[in-house]
């Protein structure tokens, strides 16, 4: 064992692993003694200078001191734990997630440490943050997140890496699509998984999943549908009967995940389509906003059933996802019109019904959808046009929110600055103008919440319910599983 004088003095993590644990404890004690010495002297000597005078103590004495200190610490911890256990059983409130505390440095440090332990690269924050949303992460799509990814033993499965990149680039969008893609990637991960010896599948697999989920969260914040799916996966893993062999367990898991997608997305879509089509009559003018796979399905099914109606697609920048909906509907042969959201109130006198898709339904009845949903719902409510929201039951979540600020996803501000293909009469802000002017910020919101009084009815596979019945459905579903 090297003497303290020759032990390396800079205590960053890379070097620390080369020291033995005894050396680490040694240095820790010495540092503590220095601090006390400094307090008396009122000066700040650097570490190497402070260590010299302490070498005189013999090894035996140091070991005895250390043991005494360890006993004292252990006793203190035991007493603290008993206090804490008593305290914890009283206050066990819901934990506030770290992704809405981006302005709290302590929380962020903890989160960064956790990511490092899981070997997941962390995304760098953007340069120009909007002050109103300083509590949320504001990233810019500058460098690829997979630049620093490792390929060691505990590396993330390539299917997950591919999925993460697809999310980050926007290749896979829409809550149903993201959830289904997640399930298929996890199925791949499970099939390729080999339980290491001495470990149990149900426990170790979950620890394999955690870094994968963190990585996906870094690429793009998890959606409500993905959260629901992950909860289901974890439940399935813990419910594996103990006697089962690994190959059997893996097959069973994969089957249950595929079942989840089939039941909650495909079959639910059929049921919702059946209910919603009863609400569309001949001569209707239906207004939809943006792109929702479920709403597109409902309209196509209604058209195939022979109902004569026309559709007005409302769209908003910067995603302009309504154009995809427009194409799908025109292909089927539905008569369509297209406006931007600022003209929604202009065209509203023509509209008889509004169908909206949802990203998620919150427990207090608010509808979380892509930004602009609330604008359309508001314009419809003013003119007395009924607003019907179609949403699968697995997207209901226990969160509560009253405005769009507390929890949202801030997209890349450069998306608003990009030039369209057409030659606009007034040019959009260029990158240089945005970068140069300090007081100019650009905000790209992804979601907004619609109050329940704008919504007339929610159609789920369980039937047609009012917006306020969401917690009832959640309760029923949690009792079922």
């Amino acid at each position: 064992m090297a003497t303290p004088a020759t032990a390396p003095v800079n205590m960053n993590n890379g070097d620390a692993e080369s020291l033995t644990s005894e050396q680490k404890k040694q240095l820790k004690k010495e540092r503590r003694k220095e601090k006390n010495a400094q307090k008396e002297k009122h000066n700040i000597p650097s570490k190497p200078e402070g260590q010299e005078p302490k070498i005189e103590k013999s090894k035996a004495e140091l070991r005895a001191e250390r043991r005494a200190k360890q006993e004292a610490d252990r006793a203190a911890k035991a007493s603290k734990k008993s206090d804490q256990v008593a305290a914890n059983t009283k206050q066990k409130g819901p934990r506030v997630p770290a992704n809405i505390q981006a302005d709290d440095p302590k929380v962020q440090k903890k989160a960064a440490k956790k990511l490092e332990k899981q070997q997941v690269p962390q995304r760098t924050e953007g340069q120009k943050k909007v002050a109103l949303f300083s509590h949320l992460h504001q990233y810019e799509r500058s460098l690829s997140i997979t630049k620093n990814i490792g390929f060691g033993k505990n590396a993330i499965h390539p299917a997950i890496i591919r999925l993460g990149l697809q999310y980050a680039e926007g290749t896979v969008t829409g809550s149903n699509a993201r959830c289904a893609a997640l399930m298929s990637a996890i199925c791949k991960l499970i099939s390729d998984y080999e339980t290491p010896p001495q470990k149990e599948l149900s426990r170790h697999l979950e620890s394999k999943l955690k870094p994968a989920i963190s990585f996906l969260d870094q690429c793009r914040p998890l959606s409500v549908s993905m959260g629901s799916a992950i909860k289901y996966i974890k439940l399935q893993i813990t419910n594996i009967p103990t006697g089962m062999s690994d190959s059997e367990a893996k097959l069973r898991l994969v089957k249950s995940l595929k079942e989840f997608v089939h039941v909650n997305i495909v079959l639910a879509g059929e049921a919702i389509s059946g209910y919603a089509c009863t609400k569309i009559t001949d001569g209707d003018v239906v207004m939809v906003f943006g792109s929702s796979s479920l709403i597109t399905k409902v309209l196509c099914d209604a058209h195939n059933a022979g109902i004569q109606f026309s559709v007005i697609v409302v769209d908003g920048r910067p995603k302009l996802s309504g154009r995809g909906t427009l194409r799908k509907l025109c292909r089927v042969g539905i008569k369509c019109s297209y406006v931007l959201v600022s003209a929604a109130s202009y065209i509203m006198p023509e509209v008889t019904k509004v169908f909206l898709g949802a990203h998620g339904l919150l427990s207090n009845g608010y509808v979380m959808g892509s930004v602009g949903t609330s604008m359309v719902a508001m314009a419809a409510k003013i003119r007395g046009v009924p607003v019907i929201v179609c949403c699968e039951a697995y997207k209901f979540c226990e969160r509560v929110q009253t405005d769009s600020f507390v929890n949202n996803e801030i997209g890349d501000p450069r998306d608003l600055l990009v030039q369209n293909k057409s030659e606009l009469t007034s040019p959009l802000l260029t990158n240089t103008a945005w970068e140069e002017t300090d007081s100019l910020k650009v905000l790209h919101l992804t979601y907004d919440v619609t109050p329940p009084d704008f919504v007339a009815m929610v159609v789920t596979e369980l039937g047609k319910i009012p917006c306020t019945s969401v917690p009832v459905v959640l309760r029923v579903r949690s009792l079922e599983t």
Binding site: K335, V371, K421, V442, L445
Partner: protein, 345 residues
């Protein structure tokens, strides 16, 4: 000739906002007064009416042109009455006696030739032009009364009046401005750039995010194209959505507009060839030909309205160059600006 060029510009919508148009119109009318031959006031008014009708039919959705024509007619009437030696109030007062004894005397006829009429009318028109030029300055001088520190102000698109208003307030107070892009022309970006260059904290948002942001906004300040007789607005596309969101969150909506924007007309949603309120711009800005011209999208109807009607219930306050008013009072100011006989040209 200049007149034909002006009419062509009107038809092709080649002007820079309502102030620019109003200025050009009134200069035109002044030239008309000074250069044409006329003997008495009635002849002059007929000439102006004829020219005015031509201009209005070239672009019926631009109310400012009609406003200018009617204002000039009112100026002529006023000057005529003043020169005859009678006070303006007695000319306007409608007594029962006058109504019953409709004689058609000289005063109502406007046919008495007066030598100084030309010079006085041109003087009055010049005064009015000066007032118009100073209107932006007068409005922004009231800025400091309405904006206080640390406020979050929302505005839409690009209005020269709002720009001057906010810049004037920024000289003394520190506040935050959120500018809505204003599709489909995205003028909001220019306004944001201009405000940020003066050091005002500006954030640009898309028009989809208006409802989401509105809960944090203290005031909404917008400009308008015209003010209708009932106190409603004919504003840029998207203003109605902003007004609805503001009223839902109980945020006051302040409208800035000079007095030349106040017009006699009311809202009408007649469509087709008789449409005078709104005009549909090129759909290129909404869905360009590259995407919209493909075979599958070729039957899609695309709407790109230029104006929005905002009903007076959604407006909290009007600030014009003569001070602040409630929308319910605007109809009264009409009587000062225009004469009832000129309502129909």
């Amino acid at each position: 000739k200049k007149m034909e060029q002006f009419l062509l510009d009107l038809k092709q919508e080649q002007f820079n906002g309502s102030y620019d148009l109003a200025y050009k119109t009134i200069n035109h009318l002044r030239k008309l007064i000074s250069q044409t031959r006329w003997t008495h006031a009635q002849e002059l008014m007929n000439t102006i009416k004829k020219e005015g009708k031509k201009m209005i039919t070239a672009q019926p959705s631009e109310y400012v042109v009609g406003n200018m024509v009617r204002r000039v007619l009112k100026i002529i009437r006023e000057e005529y009455v003043r020169l005859l030696g009678e006070s303006e109030e007695s000319a306007n007062k409608e007594s029962l006696h006058k109504m019953l004894t409709a004689e058609g005397n000289e005063r109502d006829d406007h046919t008495k030739p007066l030598k100084e009429l030309k010079t006085t009318v041109i003087e009055a028109v010049n005064e009015y032009i000066d007032e118009m030029e100073a209107s932006i300055h007068n409005i922004s001088a009231q800025a400091i009364e309405h904006i206080h520190s640390n406020e979050v102000i929302l505005t839409l698109g690009k209005s020269r009046t709002v720009e001057a208003f906010l810049k004037q307030a920024a000289k003394k107070r520190k506040f935050h401005v959120i500018v809505v892009e204003g599709s489909p022309l995205y003028h909001g970006h220019e306004l944001a750039k201009s405000l940020a260059s003066k050091g005002i904290e500006t954030t640009v948002i898309t028009d989809t995010a208006i409802f989401a942001i509105m809960s944090r906004v203290n005031k909404v300040i917008i400009g308008t194209h015209s003010v209708l007789a009932n106190g409603g607005l004919k504003a840029v596309n998207g203003a109605h959505m902003v007004a609805l969101a503001a009223s839902h969150h109980a945020v006051p909506l302040i409208v800035l507009g000079a007095m030349f924007k106040l017009c006699l007309l009311h809202y009408s949603d007649i469509g087709g060839s008789e449409a005078t309120f709104n005009r549909l711009a090129s759909p290129q800005e909404v869905l360009d030909y590259y995407d919209g011209g493909t075979e599958e999208l070729v039957n899609v109807q695309i709407y790109s309205p230029t104006f929005d009607y905002v009903p007076p219930e959604l407006v909290t306050l009007f600030i014009s160059n003569i001070g602040g008013n409630a929308p319910s009072y605007m109809y009264r100011l009409l009587s000062e600006l225009y004469h009832p006989d000129d309502h129909v040209l």
